[in-house]
Amino acid sequence: MSKSLKQPNRLREGGRIDRSRKLSFTFNGQRYQGHAGDTLASALLANGVDIVNRSFKYSRPRGIVAAGAEEPNALVQLGSSEAAQVPNVRATQQALFEGLVARSTNGWPSVQRDLMGMVGKLSGSLMPPGFYYKTFMAPASMWMTYEKYIRKGAGLGRSPMEPDPDIYDHLHQHCDLLVVGAGPAGLAAALTAARSGARVILCDEQEEMGGSLLDSRELLDHQPAAQWAARVLEELAGLDNVTLLARTTANGYHDHHFVTLHERRTEHLGETAAVKGGYRPARSRMHRVRAGQVILATGAHERPLVYANNDVPGNLLAGAVSTYIRRYGVVPGNKLVLSTSNDHAYRAALDWQDAGREVVAIVDARLSPSGDLVEQARERGIRIIEGSAVLEAKGGSRVSAARVAAIDIGAFKVTGQAETLACDTIASSGGYSPVIHLASHTGARPTWNEEILGFVPGLVKGVHAAGSAHGVHDLGEGLADGVAVAARALEALGVSARAVELPQVDARREGLACALYQVPHEKPTLRAPKQFVDLQNDVTAAAIEIATREGFESIEHVKRYTAMGFGTDQGKLGNINGMAIAARCLGRSIPEVGTTVFRPNYTPVTFGAIAGRHCRELFDPERYTALHQWHVEHGAEFEDVGQWKRPWYFPQTVNGKQETMHEAVARECLAVREKVGILDASTLGKIDIQGPDAREFLNRVYTNKWLKLEVGRVRYGLMCKDDGMLMDDGTTSCLGENHFLMTTTTGGAAGVLEWLELWHQTEWPELQVYFTSVTDHWATMTVTGPEARKLLAEVTDIDLARDQFKFMDWREGTVAGVPARVFRISFTGELAYEINVQANYAMHVWKTLFEHGDKYGLTPYGTETMHVLRAEKGFIIAGQDSDGSVTPEDLGMQWAVGYDKPFSWIGKRSLSRSDTRRSDRKQLVGLKPKDPTVVLEEGAQIVFDPEHAIPMPMVGHVTSSYYSPTLGGGFALAVVKGGHQRMGETVYLPMADGKTHAAEIVGTIFYDPKGERQNV
């Protein structure tokens, strides 16, 4: 076995790893070995890897500090291939699997010795707090350049450049009670609720559920605590009303108890989910949980002590030392100095000694500590240095010694002579901060609790905290708290709680902790070696002091100035120390200074899990008409109209060459003008309106008159909002005295139906009328062109005689043997029949028309041709030629406005407002380019005087513009200030390429102004 495959820090026994399963992995190009049950972090420590990263700002070497989500340094980039790259993974949260490949996120070009290290050493003074703002402010144009190198150097990870082979999904979950965290309090709460019959979800972010019970020294019912956890989990797993989600982090707490959980489903097995039975399971899953009540049993994060050089590899959290020893069988060094402000951290020294390694000393900031754990350490003969703290760590790439001295916390000064203790590991504990992140997401402010020296979560109704999450750190009390909190949550749900017998916990005496956030140094903070508060963002105690000296008093401002608690860290480790330091510098108390707000997500979530299944071809719904298959088979190019796929044009292959869009559209246009064309118009919105007051209702929502429309007739109508601006247009047909069929624009269908319901339900409930969408029920085919009548006559029993079936009539009969309603309405200006049949029969009718259509030159056309033809006729498209600021009068459509209707219909009053009466409003006109070969750009701005100095006053813009094969040139519709009074004038369109087009203002109807062709 090569040297690198040894695990020098692995204990011979102990831990929850599977020693029979060896796993090899690669870190920064070096191969190592670990065991099943390891995290990447525990395996790296087992292999004696001290440096796992370079720091964000100063590029200092960094090692593993913690064992969970709070780890600030060990951020890695995973992936053996480009497609498998995953950035920003905490090594402490990544289960080891065979073949895992990881690199330091921030090590460019190498972790051991790098470019930025030089920069950091030379230019440390160039990087004060606020360095982004100060250093890179000017010139602004260089920012992109700076940013590129800073980002690369600072190591925020990178996303893969190739498609991710994995899939992701969402699961919508509902429960009575969501319990976040499966430590002692969470398990007790979940068990209580589960036995009471409530629907319970219990989630926990770790590989294994049990939380602190997995590495506790304490016994439950005289057995290792993990055994009780296993029994509870077994019971919960057997209950139908319980969903257990391991490897699942609650990342966001949103409104009304909507919580997003991120479950890592295969990330512990390999970098890409293995295909099983022809199916690749989802790599991770977002659970979107709607809960009745929520218990946050999220535990606490241990606070490190802030002392000089506390970032040198070998400085760890005391609790993490215990976790590595007891859970993973890894002891991360040989000689330990423990610096603590509390009893609980003593277990790190006891565990260390149990692991057969040397405890040099326990340095306790308190005078005469006296709890049970302290006594145990004394009995073992461990040296305890009272009233003192580690002032400074020595060493470069690994701790070599600790400088220890007596301190006066109140006076914030060193009172004794420093002693240097040789060691390779310094474990520290400054107390425990409840994990209040999720509770903060709800907007509830946390409150400072002096008794536990930490913030406890503010709680909105329905949210409860249990155990350490609100400062109940004692094991026995935490278990009881879990039961009690669950009972309260159940009571709120109206469920009576069943009693749960709790395991027996040996009573333990614990001394009071003292408040120590920053350890004083012989030198003032600004001159002492760096004392890190936020390791991930490289924020030091000095930086916070400078920020307060520079006048930043609000903790939110201090945060932004120093970057403390930014990014993926979200202040897990350093926030409380940082606030306490700010408070001391400002001469205030911690509650006075307050805390910053934590935001979702608690830990980074892969974009895949957020997107779920809503990606690629399922990114957005595509709506198809009943004729879609025909369009596809006939080579249609499609245009997106809302979610609909509409045929845009049908390019044909002529002499082995496929037509361009221009050629196809010209051919389609001429076919309609000269022969006959057919359009799939099924996407138009259709609303069935029934009721004795239907007519009155139409009269109120349309601008024009409806009282006299006869059965069998069709009318075009404009619909405005009450501000007088055009909203939608379409035709409505009178099917019966109390029965109408309204059509809307394709994009406006849902909005118009909701609009009608809005007025009916809120303003005019007394009107007897019902609206029902029939958009999908009817397929609509428009047959239009001079030959349309002849073609239709071959397949219908309807009398098509000109005086029998007039323009703007509708008739009922069969087409191709299928019952149909045929409407003589025209959007092309030619003779036109809109054939409506029940959609299931549309394909038959369409194909039958083509069987008969060849001899008439029947040509399918798409939306582009439809646009050209309608624009030639000056027919508007609501939403293209209008934009919510255009009245019917601006459009020159006074003929469709019933000024003398008795009811003040929607929009009418606004037409007499001073603003809508202005003569210089933008009005719809036609534009004829002076150069007929020019097709103006839609959206192009219009000016009256092209010689005017820039900025030129803009007086309108082109709304629709096409080449017309019929007219033999370009033409456009546009809105121009006072345009209706400017017929014949020339306007100018300066383009981005420097050219300026000239065009004449003309009427909007370019073709057949008298409308003779549609009326034949």
């Binding site: 999904d169 969402h170 699961l171 919508h172 979950q173 509902h174 629907r199 039975g277 199916y279 399971p281 989802a282 979107r288 709607r290 299944r613 809503h614 399922l618 957005d620 719904p621 595509e622 709506r623 198809y624 008409t625 009943a626 879609h628 298959q629 609909w644 996407t683 069935d688 029934q690 009721g691 004795p692 059965v711 099917l735 019966g736 005295e737 109390n738 029965h739 007897q768 019902y770 029902t772 969408s773 029939v774 958009t775 999908d776 029920h777 009817w778 397929a779 009922e812 069969t814 191709a816 043997g817 299928v818 019952p819 049949v837 029940q838 959609a839 299931n840 029969y841 394909m843 038959h844």
Partner: protein, 216 residues
């Protein structure tokens, strides 16, 4: 049908008298996306019940209930989100809103049903709309059907929240549909024609984990 009814509303049979090829909303989808076959591993089975008669009833509950009882032989569900079925399960009425119900009957029955209802309703204010071309009925069956639904809809499909005899209009993937539970074994999805292909592809994709099969 009385004369006054005839002139007040335009009612006619949208189905052809002779045999004409008809295509369900899923015709294109089955053509392009195929139909995964049902196997022993299939823990979800999807089938379409195409070409049924679908009518929307609008009006006051009391008036409609009387007419429906007289014509169909069973009553209008009065409670929100309720689904009533005929004894043979072939005909159903679902509450959609306080003045709206969905009636689904075997294909071909809907026109006669509409006529008889209109006759029974006389001069009352109501609306009946044939929507059979605009939607189709899908069925899901199998022990993983509920989990497939959980991937797709934010509505709670747990049996406690969604007992047999319930039906709701809700969000499904990025679309919407009517979801109903006619019996213990089956879930019914009433989907709009234009969204049918998207929803079919969604169901196949989300159901792949359960070896979803599509029955002819």
């Amino acid at each position: 049908m009385s004369d006054s009814t005839a002139t007040r509303a335009n009612v006619y049979d949208v189905r052809p008298a002779s045999e004409v090829p008809a295509e369900s909303p899923l015709a294109w989808s089955c053509h392009t996306s195929g139909r995964p076959s049902v196997s022993a591993n299939s823990r979800v089975v999807l089938r379409e019940r195409a070409m049924l008669g679908h009518l929307i009833l609008r009006g006051g509950a009391i008036v409609l209930d009387e007419a429906v009882r007289g014509v169909l032989g069973f009553g209008l569900p009065a409670r929100p989100n309720a689904l009533s079925l005929s004894d043979d399960g072939e005909r159903s009425i679902q509450w959609l809103s306080p003045d709206e119900w969905l009636v689904i009957v075997p294909g071909g029955e809907e026109f006669a049903l509409e006529q008889r209802l209109r006759e029974a309703l006389g001069d009352a204010h109501y609306a009946i709309v044939n929507v059979g071309g605009g939607q189709t009925l899908l069925e899901l069956e199998g022990d993983k059907a509920r989990e497939l639904l959980m991937k797709s809809t934010p509505y709670d499909v747990h049996p406690d929240a969604f007992p047999v005899g319930k039906g709701v209009t809700t969000v499904f993937a990025k679309s919407s549909l009517i979801l109903r539970r006619p019996d213990e074994a089956r879930w019914e999805l009433v989907v709009r024609r234009s969204f049918a292909d998207y929803l079919y592809r969604w169901l196949l994709d989300a159901g792949a984990e359960y070896a979803i099969g599509v029955e002819q």
